[in-house]
Each structure stands twice: as C-alpha cells, then as structure tokens.
Symmetry: C2
Subunit: 337 residues, 2 copies
C-alpha cells in the first residue's frame, strides 16, 4: 500500500483533511498534539506529498520548461545554470530540452511541456525555423524568449541582450588602439542578433570615419575549426590588423591559425571574441571579449517569467541587458612592419 495522506490519516486516527492542513503548514486551527503526532507518522512512514494530485486541484505544477539548442554550447550552459538557479530559488523545477537547432525537436518539446502542464516555458529558439508549423502550434502557457524577436511573438517576457552595443564597443576599442582594417568573422546564423551585431560593426566604423568594406566581412561556423579553416583557406585581406569574431571559440580558431603562421597576437593581429566564456581566459594570450552576462540572462528570464505568471499579467515586457567589453591580452596597438 502506497504511503498517501489517507494512509497517514488512518494510522493517526484523523481525517485526510487534517493531514492535508498539517503538511501544508495551514495548522492554525489544529491542536498542537495531533499536529506533532501526524508529523511523526509522516516522518516514520516516509511520506512525500504527491504533487501530481495537488496540481490537479491547484492548477499549477511549479514546473518550467527550458528549451535551448544545446547545453554543450557554453553560452547555453551559462543561461541554463542561471535559469535553474533562479527556478529552485523560487520553488520551481526545470525540464531540460536540447533541440540541436531543429525545429521539429523544438516543437516536439513544446508539445511535451504543455502536456506536462508546465507553468511556463523559456525558449531559446532554434536556428532552423518553419513558420507554418509555428503558426499551427498554439502555446497555451506564458513563455519567455531571448532576443530573436521574429519568432514566438506572443511571449510575455523578452530579454534583449544588446548585441549592437557589444559589437560597437569591441570595434571602437580596436579603432581607439589605431586599427583601421578590421575584419568581422561572423558565425553562420539566421537569428536577429546577427543583424544587430552587423549594424554595430558598421556603425562603429562609420561613426569614426572608416568606410565599411564588405570584403572584410566573412562567415564561418561558430566553432574553433570553422574559423581556423576559413583562415587557412582564405587568409587575411592584406593589411588587416584586427578581427572581431562571432564567439570565443572562433577567436581560438583564429589564434590557432596565427600560431601556425607565426603571426604575433596582438602585435601583428588583434583578436576579439564574444561571450566571455572560460575559453577566453584559459588561452594564451587571454582573449579580449564581449561579456553578455549569460548566467544573469538565465536568471532574469526565469525571474521575470515567474513574476508574470504570479501576477497573471500577460502583457509583454522587454528587458534590455547590457553587454560590455572585457579587455585582456589579445588586443593591442597595431605594429606596422
């Protein structure tokens, strides 16, 4: 026989209602003696409340879903950690969902989470999109999103990492050091932050009187090999003295390439990464990078989502989060040979 409230009630010779009150801390009208007796049996029998049954009544599950492309990606690892932290702190549990940037998996998870009656969802949309499928699916719980404004328009919370500013500051830093030919090696991506960064790059240049040169913009995948292979195959545009990368891994790829080519960093080439992950600090030289406060972003996503849920306020809220440049060793004045 399972250990239920009924079971406890029978053992103690009280009613289920009394047990319920006690285990839920609503014992203002329960005699101290019976309370202790019940608590003792609860302990002895190893009773755990059944939140499924509770949720049937209360209509909430104290559970959230977190949908990300891949926990292995350091950027999402950070967000997840922040999200999970905030969730427990607020008494919630978190379902982990890795989409691998597949829209099918994403939708599969969405359905599953709704079937599980989660109280809310945090979605970092996958890169692959399919508007028809999105149209079809109606998410019936509040959800929070990150940046990618084009998808999931019915969010209640959107955290906007300032990609424009992050990029702008990085390029400005390089210009201040004296760089003029600054390459932008971006990651392959069809989400809105790509455009924002591109704008930041362009504006920073133009606001400092440097004409934009499209030959200096290149694209590879968001990893070490991608950046490395790109440079191996294409090299640098002559006289380039600095590179802004799409993330820290790409910066590492560039760094590996410079080592093979005996290019001094930052003497011959300055490199800036993006994300301020552990990679930027364990490399040699340490990489100047843009910190996006991922962990904080995860915390904010959950915190704000829960506030919306609690308040039953489903109007939309946009929350900006500043990025900032962390200057380390991979950037310096260009040395003209």
């Amino acid at each position: 026989m399972p250990v239920t409230m009924k079971h406890i009630a029978e053992l103690c010779g009280v009613s289920i209602a009394t047990v319920s009150k006690i285990v839920n801390g609503k014992y203002d009208d329960v005699k101290e003696e019976t309370r202790l007796r019940v608590l003792k049996t609860v302990e002895e029998e190893g009773y755990f409340i059944n939140t499924l049954a509770r949720s049937m009544k209360t209509k909430n599950t104290k559970t959230l879903g977190l949908i990300i492309p891949d926990i292995k990606n350091a950027y999402y690892t950070d967000i997840s950690r922040g999200a999970e932290d905030m969730a427990v702190r607020k008494g919630y549990s978190l379902f982990l969902c890795n989409t691998d940037d597949s829209i099918n998996k994403e939708i599969g998870y969405l359905v599953k989470l709704m079937e599980k009656q989660v109280d809310g969802i945090i979605i970092i949309a996958s890169m692959e999109r399919n508007f028809e499928m999105e149209e079809l699916l109606k998410i019936n719980v509040p959800f929070a999103v990150l940046n990618n404004s084009t998808n999931y328009k019915d969010y209640v919370v959107r955290v906007e990492v300032d990609d424009y500013k992050g990029m702008y500051e990085g390029v400005e830093h390089l210009i201040a050091l004296g760089h003029r030919k600054i390459m932008y090696l971006q990651g392959k991506n069809n989400l809105s932050f790509g455009e924002e960064r591109f704008r930041g790059y362009k504006d920073a240049l133009e606001n400092h009187g440097i004409p934009f040169n499209e030959n200096l913009v290149a694209t590879s995948t968001f990893n070490v090999e991608g950046a490395y292979e790109y440079l191996r195959e294409n090299g640098l545009v002559p006289e380039t003295t600095a590179i802004m990368c799409g993330n820290d891994l790409m910066a590492l790829g560039v760094l590996n390439w410079t080592k093979e080519e005996c290019i001094d960093v930052p003497g011959d080439l300055s490199i800036i990464g993006y994300d301020d992950t552990i990679f930027s600090v364990i490399s040699s030289p340490k990489i100047t990078t843009v910190n996006q406060h991922c962990r904080l972003v995860g915390e904010i996503l959950v915190k704000e989502l829960l506030e919306k849920i609690d308040a039953e306020d489903f109007t939309q809220k946009n929350i900006p989060v500043e990025s900032h440049l962390v200057v380390r060793e991979s950037t310096g004045k260009p040395m003209i040979h």
Copy 2:
C-alpha cells in the same frame, strides 16, 4: 473553459471514454468516421493531453530526475547531454538539478523529485556527504549512480568508469616514453574514484619497477587556477619530467605555468590531462588526456535505469565503461639537459 477530454467529447457528441481511446491510439474498436471527427476537433481546439491526470491512473510520469554537482563543469555537461538525449529517445523528460556539491541541496532535490513522482533518478553524488542525513532519507524510486559506491547503496544501476585503467594507461604511456619521475597532481576529492586513480598511478609505477614516491603526489583544486597556483608556490620536485593531472583544466593550469617559466612542453615536461574535454584540444600544445566517454556514460545511465524500471527488476547492476588514453601533443620523450 479548459480544453479537456470532456470538452472534446461534448463537442463531438461522444463519450469521454471514446475520446480517450482515440487520442491514445487504442482505436481498434472505434468507427473510422468518429475517429476522424474527434481528431479534427482535437486539432481545432488545440487539445493537449493532461499527463498529470494520466499519471494519477497509470502510476508513472515518464519523467526522470538528473542530479549533478554543476552543469557548468564540462564533465557533467557531457553526461547531462547524453542523459537527456537518451531520455527523449525513450519518451521521457528530465528535471535538471545542480547541487553545487552541497549535501543539503542534494537532499532537497531528492525530496522534490520524489514529490514530483519521477519514475527514476540519476544521481551524481555531491562531494560533501552526511551519512546521517542519507540514512534518514529513503528514496522511493529506482535510481542510478556513477561510481561513488560508498553513497546510495540501494541503486539499481551503477556505471563504473574505469578510473584505475585510465590512470594506469596514462602513467604507462609516460613510462614507455622514458619518464621515471612522474608527478601526480590530483584534484581535491573525497569520492572513490580518487582512490582508484591513485591505485592506478601506484600500480603502473610499481609494475614497471619504479618505486612509489609520495613526494610526487600533490593535491590542488579541480581547476586552472588550482594547478597553476600549486606550481607557482611549490614548483616541481627536482628531475620531474612528467605530470598526470586530475582533469584537463588542471593540465591547462600546468601549461600556463610552464609558459611563464619558459619550460618546454613536452620537451622539458610532459603533461597528461583527464576527461578529454574540449579544453584538451583547443590548447597549444594539444593535451594528451584520458577519455571517459562522458556522453556515453550519460546515455547508459538513463538507458539501463529505464530498462530496470520497465522490467520492474530492482536487483543491482554494475556496468563497466572503459576509459582510454588519447595521445596528443603534450607528451613526448624526456629530454635530459
């Protein structure tokens, strides 16, 4: 009004029972026409099954809990990814729980998971232990553990990463290259794998006629700074030509120190890491390391746990997983100056 089976049933003019059969694919005895009609309204109304209610009846939730120290640690990131992958593949969802190696948090999660009626739990025990508390808590669902045999004796599945062999192979590799004075810089740890690795280190030496020297064993924390600081403060025992590290981050810390000290790797010093994380391959030189197949471990933990659950077979099963050495650039023959 919520979209429930009852709601659908009323719209279609059929009974709840019929709807239930249809949405659960048990329509062998349902007329095709009514089936299509019901399915259509399900679609139109955006009905999702309520798994809470279902679980009340079926006594399972198709949900697992994953308890790890910290998802930020690359080792656990890998395990988590593998675990989540296998979980979805088998139709299960996963709760993510970070303990930060705190026994209190661990127990808090355990309670929460049981309250959520998970079908099983995967526990990577935190380093901090408290046997009294463990005694008190009776986990009422099957669970799987990793190595640390001293805790949670009632597991149904235990995956045993072969720490002994991993270490043994690493040291043997160094000996084969000609090293005699091999330092072991271990990570601070009170779990059993520490002992196993230590045994592997010792045995490898002694089986090759090299006497064990306790001065060559040191301890720091499991990160870059720990290893770096240790060497900065204590330096190497004279004539040491190789170091086995507790993990890749520590190996990186050693590498950083050698750069400052102008010690050539692997010419003056060979370094071996542990875990075969991305760090070992992005450094320069790339680090020889022991691969523990973490992702696979995560998959196995879930797969085997689910098999036990399905079979309602709660006898214990121990599953060995081999480690193997990955030779890269940080190890070579010692050069005697």
